[in-house]
């Protein structure tokens, strides 16, 4: 039994290999020879028979975990998840821990984790690898596809190297070229100030933010690095107007903005899972829809970016995917499409949630250049990330959420 790391770029067949490994001799009768493959689309790994943590655990026969007294390592993994919480209210990291625990509870002989660990913050990720996966690998064969290999590598027994398949789409170079052309553009966007902003969920009565005062300036990337469940997505939801702050206000420039009732759109949100936001028959229809909505409403952006849907499709190297069904596209392509939509939406501020998820090294470098170009063009950019792929970006500011407040981590004004 061993822990094997899959190393390779996008479109190298890592996911297919991982699925083949996990499902190679899975029998329909139950435990014997069963393999578990955990897809990067987290919700597809849930049973669908339950709405709460308790229900999901029951389906996987882990219901009595707390009463058991002696918690084993897998049970410790989920011990802090509130039993009655709805699955839809869990953070991304909590869901990842839950699905891993549930997969292990089915007593598989093989476990394949496809980009699943990338969605955890560094501390949880290391804890999971050291305390759960390494001991488990003595009795269970575990294969992991992951792009943040620096911290996993030393714990793995072997590495499988993959290379790009012939005919695979070239995505990094077009993105770099597009970034170059974007640098020449200039838009005017106002700064955003959170004034004494507090927020708590009424259902749990838990304070997420308390008296936050923070300035977001356009033209420099904000790297938001905070533990799972600390309120990163909640911040985005407040800026989008999906949650109304309990107290405090949001100022855009010198004007108060109430996104929960104002028709203007301040922020475009790129979801961690892009499947949530894609709509329409194909990517051209989707981008047209976003562009049309952007042009048809009042915006905070003062001098809009003059760029068309076809420019974005060509520029981002998406030409060969135009006719394909949006939902059948690979994760990296879906994420790339949402990058295009973010530019076309005329929102001025863009909130990227784990944009590097699923990207290989060259893809990450290209994405970094793209974000720099966005900032140089004048966009406001907030990037939620757990890795170090964007560290040291020019003019970047690393922020975190600590004690229910947004705080500066490191202010690094350096040129890479």
């Amino acid at each position: 039994m061993s822990l094997v790391l899959y190393d390779g770029p996008a479109f190298s067949g890592r996911s297919e290999a991982l699925r083949d490994f996990a499902w190679s001799s899975s029998s329909s009768s139950g435990a014997g020879g069963l393999g578990q493959y955990l897809s990067p689309m987290i919700e597809t790994n849930l049973s669908g028979f339950a709405n709460t943590v308790r229900g999901e655990l029951f389906c996987h026969k882990l219901a009595m975990r707390v009463q058991a007294g002696s918690l084993n390592s897998v049970e410790r993994l989920i011990a802090d998840l509130p039993d009655r919480s709805r699955l839809s209210s869990l953070s991304g990291g909590e869901l990842v821990r839950l699905i891993i625990a549930c997969a292990i509870a089915l007593r598989p002989q093989r476990l394949g984790l496809d980009l699943t660990l990338e969605q955890l913050d560094h501390k949880t990720r290391m804890q999971l690898i050291q305390e759960i996966l390494v001991p488990l690998s003595k009795n269970l064969e575990i294969h992991i596809a992951d792009n943040n290999q620096a911290d996993i590598g030393e714990f793995c027994d072997a590495k499988k190297i993959f290379t790009t398949r012939p005919g695979a789409p070239e995505l990094s170079r077009p993105l770099c070229n597009f970034a170059q052309s974007l640098r020449a553009s200039k838009i005017a966007v106002s700064s955003v100030h959170l004034h004494d902003l507090s927020f708590r969920y009424k259902s749990t009565d838990r304070w997420i933010f308390r008296r936050v005062n923070f300035d977001f300036q356009p033209g420099r990337p904000y790297l938001l690095k905070a533990p799972n469940g600390s309120g990163k997505s909640t911040l985005a939801r407040i800026l989008l107007g999906l949650h109304r702050p309990t107290t405090g206000s949001i100022q855009v420039g010198d004007r108060t903005f109430r996104p929960w009732r104002d028709g203007r759109n301040l922020v475009f949100y790129c979801f961690q899972n892009p499947s949530y936001q894609l709509l329409g028959d194909n990517l051209q229809n989707y981008l047209n829809m976003v562009a049309l909505a952007g042009r048809g409403r009042q915006n905070w952006i003062r001098s809009p970016l003059l760029i068309g849907v076809l420019d974005v499709i060509d520029g981002l190297g998406l030409g060969e995917f135009v006719e394909k069904d949006l939902f059948e596209l690979p994760l990296v392509i879906k994420k790339r499409i949402t990058l295009g939509a973010s530019i076309l939406s005329q929102s001025g501020w863009i909130f990227f949630d784990e944009p590097a998820l699923g990207l290989d090294m060259t893809g990450r470098i290209a994405l970094r250049q793209f974000f720099s170009a966005l900032c140089e063009a004048g966009f406001g950019v907030i990037i939620v990330t757990h890795g170090d792929e964007f560290d040291g970006m020019s003019n970047s500011i690393e922020i975190t959420i600590s004690e229910q407040r947004l705080a500066f981590a490191i202010d690094c004004i350096t040129d890479p």
Binding site: W23, L34, N45, S47, G48, R237, G263, S347
Partner: protein
């Protein structure tokens, strides 16, 4: 609640269809309310009432207007015909009462336990699976609907105004539909089929211990008994009591 008590309550509540008098329906109401409240499902009752009460009120008004003779303005006659034992409104009220009991039984099943509970209630494996899948699909759709709303707002396609929400209703439905199908399909292929979750569930179904709360079981059994008494012999009992007075 023990699955047997659920079954007993479900069967006994069908006694609502034995007699056709409004008084039987009125007598059944406190039993239903009591069952909800005593099993700690007050929120569920409230939700049920919020959904059903407007339908009942509107239905009563509509039938009253239909039966009202506008030439003579015979309000008394219209009232009697609306609440007559054979009227459509009373039929609806009876169906609503019966449904609310079934609602209590099924929605009261602890999360994740629907498949083993239905099996213990005597449903065939096929029927239990179909029902559990349908219930799972409903929750997937409701999650997707919420997600679709968020997605449209997050991309500036829909603004928070009511007008914009109405304009984008078609899009919300379309996105919800595609997203639900997408998730359900991926889940079926990955989790249920290849990861062997479904076969694991099936194999362990008989051994799965479902939650059985003694208090809830007792309440359900007493309610079942009351249903039979009130609906089969209720009117006679009331008449006897009134007669003895």
């Amino acid at each position: 609640m023990h699955p047997f008590a659920r079954l007993a309550l479900a069967v006994s509540s069908s006694a609502l269809f034995f007699k056709h008098d409004l008084i039987h329906l009125a007598l059944s109401l406190p039993i239903i309310f009591g069952a909800y409240l005593l099993t700690g499902k007050a929120r569920l009752l409230l939700m049920c009432m919020k959904m059903v009460a407007p339908v009942l009120v509107i239905s009563a008004i509509v039938w009253f207007v239909v039966y009202l003779d506008f030439r003579t303005l015979d309000f008394g006659g219209a009232w009697l015909r609306t609440f007559d034992r054979t009227s459509h409104f009373v039929e609806l009220a009876r169906t609503v009462e019966f449904t609310s009991v079934i609602f209590l039984l099924l929605r009261g099943i602890p999360d994740g336990e629907i498949l083993p509970t239905l099996r213990r209630m005597g449903a065939t494996h096929f029927l239990a699976t179909v029902f559990a899948n349908a219930e799972a699909q409903v929750s997937t759709i409701s999650d997707s609907a919420l997600q679709s709303y968020t997605a449209l707002r997050a991309q500036g396609i829909m603004s928070p105004t009511w007008l914009s929400k109405c304009k984008n209703l078609g899009r919300i439905i379309a996105v919800t539909w595609t997203a639900s199908l997408n998730v359900a399909d991926a889940r079926r292929e990955t989790k249920w089929r290849h990861n062997g979750f479904y076969s694991h569930q099936t194999a362990n179904l008989e051994r799965a211990a479902v939650s059985t709360n003694r208090w809830e079981t007792s309440v359900a059994l007493v309610a079942a008994l009351f249903f039979i008494v009130t609906n089969v012999a209720g009117l006679e009992i009331v008449e006897n009591v009134l007669g003895s007075l």
